[in-house]
């Protein structure tokens, strides 16, 4: 295997791109997808270190992350659908009535 920081660097880049996606895009679904990308980047980091330390814990953890991400996606999309029903739009900038 390559030195671990290669994988780590890649993970960071993917994570940053995901973060940018959350911050820049206005489409709720795309934001959600960016969140998945971030989670995925974390998964990559975990697996890389699992291989480095030769411990299964990292992979088990990834397993759980995936499970939770799946559950989260299910709920999240259900929420988006519900919001779409009232707002007829999935532009997050329009959900801003709680302003100060």
């Amino acid at each position: 295997m390559l030195p671990v920081y290669y994988y780590l660097g890649l993970a960071i880049i993917l994570f940053t791109i995901g973060a940018l996606g959350v911050l820049i895009r206005r489409n709720a679904i795309v934001i959600f997808m960016s969140v998945e990308l971030m989670l995925n980047a974390a998964n990559l980091a975990f697996v890389a270190y699992a291989r480095y330390w030769q411990s299964m814990n990292g992979q088990i953890f990834v397993f759980f992350i995936m499970t939770v991400a799946a559950a989260e996606v299910a709920i999240g999309l259900a929420l988006i659908v519900t919001i779409f029903r009232t707002k007829a739009s999935i532009d997050v900038d329009q959900i801003s009535t709680l302003k100060g």
Binding site: A19, D93, I95, S96
Partner: protein, 718 residues
């Protein structure tokens, strides 16, 4: 306290009761008088006064065994530094004489007053005031006893002030009556204030005494008592003694109604008649004479002062006698007569004839009290007549309605000797005694004074003899106007005699006036020897031994008797014959007094008392009232109250509070508080802008945090 006196033995230890019996009497009347009847109140007051007289008699008896006199210490009053004042009683022949007069005459007048006041309070519609009269009367006896029994000048002064107070209270007894509803109160004021001027003199004399006598006193402690004053006075410079004696003379002119402070005595007649008799004839006014007699030790050191005293006395005697000639109020005549007779006494003690002066004091007490009480009887008789006339229609029609009927005006009297027999006879005795007709009391005493004057001071003698002439004249005038002739008004025609409770004291006093003269009968001289134990009788320029003791000069005696009889004859002619003739004239041309056409303007001058009161008012009272009004209105109200208090103090204070509450409190403090509040509101408004409502912004803020934390960790952990 009481029992130190027992060491002196005999009845002397009873002397405090002289004062205490009247005090107990007045306390009983004050506390229980409301529940007792008039009779009980009167009885207690007379008993208190009577017991005081009994004590005086016992003291006199005790003195017979010990004639040099005794000082009975009682209690220590003030001890401060160089001053030691004790309340000690002095029982010697001079003070016992005064005690006997005050006690005896006082008790008789108390008895008379029981009857007189009974009618008077009903005449003035206030029966409840009966008790107050006797309380004040007993208070007077107590104060007068303090005065005459004092052993030092300060205790004497306490009694002096006490009698002055009682005089004020009793003159203004009917305080809501009199001219314009306050006449009696104003008369009381006049008496008190004029006496105060005299008291000022007395006090200055005392202060001088203390300043100059105290360094020479034993142990440097001065106690004002008569004995030490007599011994120390010889070492003090003459000028000081002269000043002391002259200031004391000022006090005497106030209390004993001499020139120039006599003006209160005629006005004091506003009080009820027993008051006039007791206070303003027999006792209080004689306190001045007593004072000079008591101070004989210092007066005999300064012949100049003695001369002044004699001149004041003699001039007053003549002056007052002339005024009495033209007075119409029965009591005013007697008042001016009192002033005149006091002048005789003051002149006597001024010349150094202390015995003569004191003798006349005692005699005068008898017949002057008699005259005043009888005049009271006359006045009440007229008032009874007036009462009858008011309630009887037929009589009422006959009465002439010319304004207010004055029962004291002699022009409304006349022919009373038929209606009021007892009163007439006693009045006649008193009048003759005053005029100095032998063998009544006044003759002996007045004659002794004239005899002394003829040898010691001829100028004084001539003044006094002329005054004696006028005395006889005005008394004759009074007798003829009141008791002889026809009644000049309806009430006089219906007058009734007074009850026994009033006439019996009158009879007793009349008897005393008849036999009293034998107290100091020439060749017997009992009174002289009696007094000599206390007063070393000194008379400068005495010609012989007999003159010292007040000898009997036959020439003087005959001259004075002839003058007196002559005066009475002239009075008879004028007031019996001439007035009969005058009745023939029509009413509007008829003068009210036969003297008026004869003397003309002089009569008006005398009738208006030489306008002395008006003169005093113009010179003294008006400027004083102007000054007090000025001080009260301009200085006190306008300047002090309005300007200083209201404008400066109150205004300043209000201005300060306005400043503090307005600009300071509202402006500055509220400003700071509001500033803080507004500042926070601004801050909050700015901070609110963070809550944009966009989810992406919140996510951005998290991201910012993450970046910075990682950056911080990098920097810190390298």
């Amino acid at each position: 306290m009481l029992f130190n006196a027992a060491n002196t033995g005999g009845f002397f230890y009873l002397v405090p009761f002289l004062v205490f019996f009247p005090v107990i009497g007045l306390l009983i009347n004050i506390t229980l008088g409301g529940r007792m009847g008039e009779k009980a109140i009167g009885a207690i007051a007379c008993l208190a006064s009577g017991l005081s007289f009994v004590i005086a008699v016992l003291l006199g008896l005790a003195l017979l065994g010990r004639p040099e006199g005794v000082v009975v210490p009682y209690l220590n009053w003030i001890t401060i530094g160089n001053l030691q004042l004790d309340w000690a009683f002095r029982v010697d022949t001079l003070s016992v004489t005064m005690m006997l007069v005050v006690g005896g005459v006082g008790t008789l007048i108390h008895i008379y007053a029981v009857g007189y006041m009974h009618e008077d309070v009903r005449h003035n519609d206030d029966p409840g005031r009966y008790r107050r009269f006797f309380v004040y009367f007993n208070l007077f006896i107590a104060a007068m006893m303090i005065l005459v029994s004092a052993n030092n000048y300060m205790m004497l002064f306490i009694g002096w002030e006490g009698v002055g107070l009682c005089s004020y209270l009793l003159i203004g007894f009917w305080y809501e009556k009199g001219k314009d509803g306050i006449g009696n109160a104003l008369a009381g004021n006049k008496a008190f204030i004029t006496n105060r001027i005299g008291d000022f003199g007395f006090l200055i004399a005392s202060f001088l005494m203390f300043k100059y006598f105290q360094p020479l006193a034993a142990n440097g402690v001065f106690s004002f008592d008569f004995d030490s004053v007599a011994t120390i006075a010889k070492q003090v410079p003459q000028g000081v003694i002269l000043a002391i004696t002259l200031f004391t003379l000022l006090g005497v002119t106030g209390k004993s109604a001499q020139l120039p402070l006599y003006v209160w005595l005629p006005d004091a007649m506003a009080g009820p008649t027993p008051v006039s008799a007791l206070i303003h004839a027999a006792t209080m006014v004689t306190a001045g004479v007593y004072l000079i007699a008591r101070s004989h030790a210092i007066y005999s050191l300064v012949p100049v002062a003695q001369n002044w005293v004699a001149i004041v006395g003699a001039v007053t005697a003549l002056f007052a006698a002339t005024i009495a000639v033209a007075q119409f109020d029965i009591k005013k005549v007697l008042a001016y007569s009192t002033i005149s007779q006091l002048g005789f006494m003051v002149a006597a003690v001024g010349m150094g004839a202390f015995v003569a002066g004191m003798f006349h004091l005692v005699m005068h007490a008898f017949f002057k009290a008699l005259l005043f009480l009888s005049s009271g009887s006359v006045i009440q008789g007229i008032e009874r007549g007036e009462h009858l006339v008011e309630h009887d229609p037929t009589l009422h029609k006959r009465m002439k309605h010319e304004g207010h009927f004055d029962p004291q005006d002699m022009r409304n009297m006349g022919g009373l000797r038929h209606k009021m027999k007892t009163t007439f006879w006693v009045y006649l005795v008193g009048a003759l005694a005053l005029a100095g007709i032998v063998p009544l009391a006044g003759f002996w005493s007045k004659d002794e004074i004239l005899a002394e004057a003829s040898t010691l001071n001829p100028a004084i003698y001539w003044l006094l003899i002329i005054a004696a002439f006028f005395t006889a004249f005005y008394m004759g005038r009074q007798i003829f106007m009141v008791f002889f002739g026809d009644p000049r008004s309806e009430p006089a025609a219906q007058a009734k005699e007074s009850p026994a409770v009033m006439t019996i004291p009158l009879i007793i006093l009349a008897l005393l006036s008849i036999v009293g003269g034998f107290l100091n009968f020439p060749t017997l001289h009992t009174f002289t020897t009696w007094l000599e134990h206390t007063i070393q009788v000194v008379a400068e320029g005495a010609t012989g031994g007999e003159a010292v003791a007040g000898g009997f000069n036959i020439v003087v005696a005959i001259l004075s008797t002839v003058l007196a009889l002559g005066a009475i004859t002239i009075a008879w002619y004028l007031y019996m014959r001439r007035s009969q003739d005058m009745l023939k004239l029509p009413l509007n041309k008829r003068a009210d007094d036969p003297l008026r056409p004869i003397l003309g303007p002089i009569f008006t001058l005398l009738e208006n008392k030489y306008w002395v009161d008006e003169l005093y008012g113009y010179l003294v009272i008006k400027p004083y009232q102007w000054l007090s009004k000025f001080l009260a209105e301009k200085v006190d109200w306008d300047f002090w109250h309005d300007f200083f208090h209201d404008t400066i103090l109150a205004g300043g204070f209000n201005g300060a509070t306005r400043l503090l509450s307005g600009p300071v409190d509202l402006g500055i403090i509220d400003g700071i508080a509001n500033f803080l509040g507004d500042g926070f509101k601004e801050l909050a408004a700015q901070m609110r802008k963070l809550q944009t409502g966009f989810v992406r912004n919140y996510a951005l803020s998290i991201f910012i945090g993450v970046v910075f934390i990682i950056g911080y960790l990098i920097i810190r952990l390298g």
